[in-house]
């Protein structure tokens, strides 16, 4: 009886999952694997080999990698410092990072547009000191800034969480055994924080690879990303088959990336035992 009731509680989520996750996925699979006349084909998947699509995917990977790397460089030291701080102080700073995430994503990107524009806020400030104007807007730099801004919290939080969980006794033990600060960091803290780093990488790289809104708004639509191609196939060309086919390729690509990460994650855990 009790378990039946408990099963009922999953009802709302089940409806949600079927309607908004499983059905759309099945539809994408159906469209991606058929052509206009409805017969089975792999052409829509193989279309990724088309030089334009391949280049778009490559650009997407580069931009996603770039923003992941920059986020990591910013987030890791910050998370380390925060985890060493007292509870209240670090809570406030984490809060500051979370705060923008409560505001709509498009609004934030458009605000960034106002800041980075040729006649924008940044150049006004720089101009006051006699620097610039910088032409950042509508460039790959602008796209990278936008993406790092967007995804940085997703890098900081997992690393911060993992670092907070590191048992202080382990660090004390290392010191007792004569390890200096550098050794403690290299051999204790870093290996122990790796799972956080990996989930941070996954949470930045994976959404980053299908990004196209930021590239459109901040990049001035000058770079064609795989997300743009898929968007255009659906909305402009009305070729849902190709759009779905490329989406499937992108999903496969993401699964492969996740599998690779998971593999490294395991070796990370191995180090933890050490």
């Amino acid at each position: 009886m009790n378990t039946n009731k408990r099963k009922l509680l999953t009802g709302p989520y089940l409806v949600w999952a079927v309607g908004f996750i499983i059905l759309p996925l099945l539809m994408i699979l159906y469209y991606g694997l058929t052509n206009d006349s409805g017969s089975f084909t792999l052409d829509n998947l193989l279309a990724i080999a088309d030089p334009i699509h391949a280049k778009a995917l490559w650009e997407s990977v580069l931009i996603a990698l770039g923003s992941t790397l920059i986020s990591l460089v910013i987030a890791y030291p910050l998370a380390y410092i925060l985890s060493n701080m007292g509870g209240n102080k670090s809570g406030t700073i984490i809060m500051l990072f979370m705060l923008p995430m409560w505001i709509n994503f498009l609004l934030r990107i458009m605000a960034l547009q106002m800041i980075l524009a040729n006649t924008g806020i940044l150049n006004a400030i720089l101009g006051f000191f006699g620097i610039g104007p910088l032409h950042i807007m509508y460039s790959k730099t602008a796209i990278l800034i936008g993406m790092v801004y967007e995804y940085l919290p997703f890098m900081i939080l997992p690393i911060y969480n993992v670092m907070c969980k590191i048992d202080r006794n382990v660090i004390d033990a290392a010191r007792d055994l004569g390890a200096d600060t550098k050794t403690v960091f290299m051999h204790v803290i870093m290996p122990l924080s790796l799972p956080g780093v990996l989930s941070g990488i996954i949470m930045v790289f994976i959404p980053g690879i299908s990004e196209f809104v930021i590239a459109d708004i901040l990049g001035g639509s000058k770079v064609l990303l795989i997300g743009n191609v898929i968007d255009q196939e659906f909305s402009l060309t009305n070729n849902w088959h190709l759009g779905s086919g490329l989406s499937i390729v992108l999903m496969i690509f993401i699964f492969i990336s996740m599998a690779i990460m998971n593999k490294y994650d395991k070796s990370g855990e191995g180090q933890m035992i050490w």
């Binding site: 759309p24 539809m27 498009l106 458009m110 006649t119 001035g220 639509s221 000058k222 909305s235």
Partner: protein, 355 residues
């Protein structure tokens, strides 16, 4: 506006799932009622006009908006809602006429149809040969909006968009056919050409231009011009007027090589359930007082002669809204290219964006 398009694209997947179920109820309810379902571009009507129509006729208007004709067509085709009246642009109308999606409009019984200027009805014949399926609502051109402070010379040719002095200060239209107007007209070709050599040459010119282009934008170009971020932009006349209102340094020109003249028209899809009410609405739109209200709000060129005559001289002579006849004579209306050539166009466009 683009941002809404992006949101709409994201939601499209969800809609296709839920669309069938929810939509049927909606249209079933509308069928019995004295209701008119209107589908129009965003922010493209003086809203109080709708209340006036409801009051005068007792017909309830359900008013919906979309961003691009492609969005509209996708939603229309899903069949979720039986629209009675759609306002959209020339080439999409032609595509829908050819697909047999439209009903003939009975203009003979309309009181105010004669208000429309025959010149513009003739233009409309290029996509609606007998003026049977579409009644023009507003029209405009595509041209160059430029900042007179940043551009020290007179702008009268598309050629200036290849001038290296303005490198990284040019904004191009981020829409396939609008972008191709520029090289095609400069070459002296028709904007409706499907000649592959001409199209490839045009594409090559756009390749060469890309390094000078600051950004490919649609609606945002207006803001970029107002803020002085860019020196010039290829832009719709309506957006140019709005930008010039906000920044006195801006000016607009339709280049001497000619351009595109576009028409947004009312049309009745074949799935419409309230054709008579739709025709009443079209007639209402052509009434002088209503036309004036809409003109004052939207500020695009009106094809309505009676409304035009009511305008003050300054507005009538505003060449941004109403270009002179010589320029107009070199302008062309878009024609639907057909599926195969459209696909070819799409390919060229994708190659340009990937270049």
């Amino acid at each position: 506006m683009k941002k809404y398009a992006i949101l709409a694209a994201a939601m499209a997947a969800c809609l296709t799932v839920t669309g069938c179920g929810a939509g049927q109820n909606e249209s079933a309810a509308a069928e019995d009622d004295n209701t008119l379902i209107v589908f129009n571009y965003g922010d493209y009507i003086e809203r109080s006009v709708l209340d006036m129509f409801e009051e005068e006729t007792g017909i309830k208007v359900k008013y919906e908006e979309y961003v691009t004709p492609e969005d509209m067509y996708t939603k229309y085709q899903s069949g979720a809602i039986n629209y009675d009246l759609i306002c959209t642009s020339d080439y999409m109308i032609e595509k829908m006429i050819l697909a047999g999606e439209l009903q003939k409009i009975d203009t003979s019984s309309m009181e105010n149809y004669d208000n429309l200027d025959p010149t513009y009805l003739d233009f409309c014949k290029s996509f609606d040969p007998n003026n049977e399926y579409a009644v023009p609502y507003f029209w405009g051109t595509v041209g160059i909006c430029y900042n007179t402070e940043m551009v020290g010379e007179e702008v009268d040719s598309w050629e200036i968009l290849w001038d290296e002095n303005y490198s990284d200060q040019l904004i191009m239209e981020n829409s396939m056919r609008d972008a191709f107007i520029v090289p095609l007209k400069l070459m002296g070709a028709s904007i409706n050409t499907v000649d592959k050599n001409e199209l490839l040459e045009a594409q090559q010119m756009l390749f060469d231009q890309k390094k000078l282009v600051m950004a490919y934008l649609v609606d945002e170009s207006r803001d970029a011009m107002i803020s002085g971020d860019a020196a010039m932009a290829v832009i719709y006349s309506g957006d140019a007027t709005a930008a010039m209102d906000a920044n006195e340094d801006l000016d607009y020109c339709v280049p001497k090589e000619g351009s595109n003249i576009w028409f947004d028209c009312w049309m009745i899809p074949k799935t419409a359930k309230h054709k008579e009410a739709a025709e009443k609405f079209i007639d209402f739109m052509n009434r002088v007082d209503v036309g004036l209200m809409n003109f004052d709000y939207i500020y695009y060129a009106t094809p309505n002669q009676a409304v035009y005559e009511e305008l003050d001289d300054e507005t009538k002579e505003d060449y941004t809204i109403f270009p002179d006849e010589e320029t107009l004579s070199k302008c062309e209306v878009y024609k639907y290219l057909g599926e195969e050539d459209e696909r070819y166009y799409n390919q060229l466009w994708k190659e340009l964006k990937s270049y």
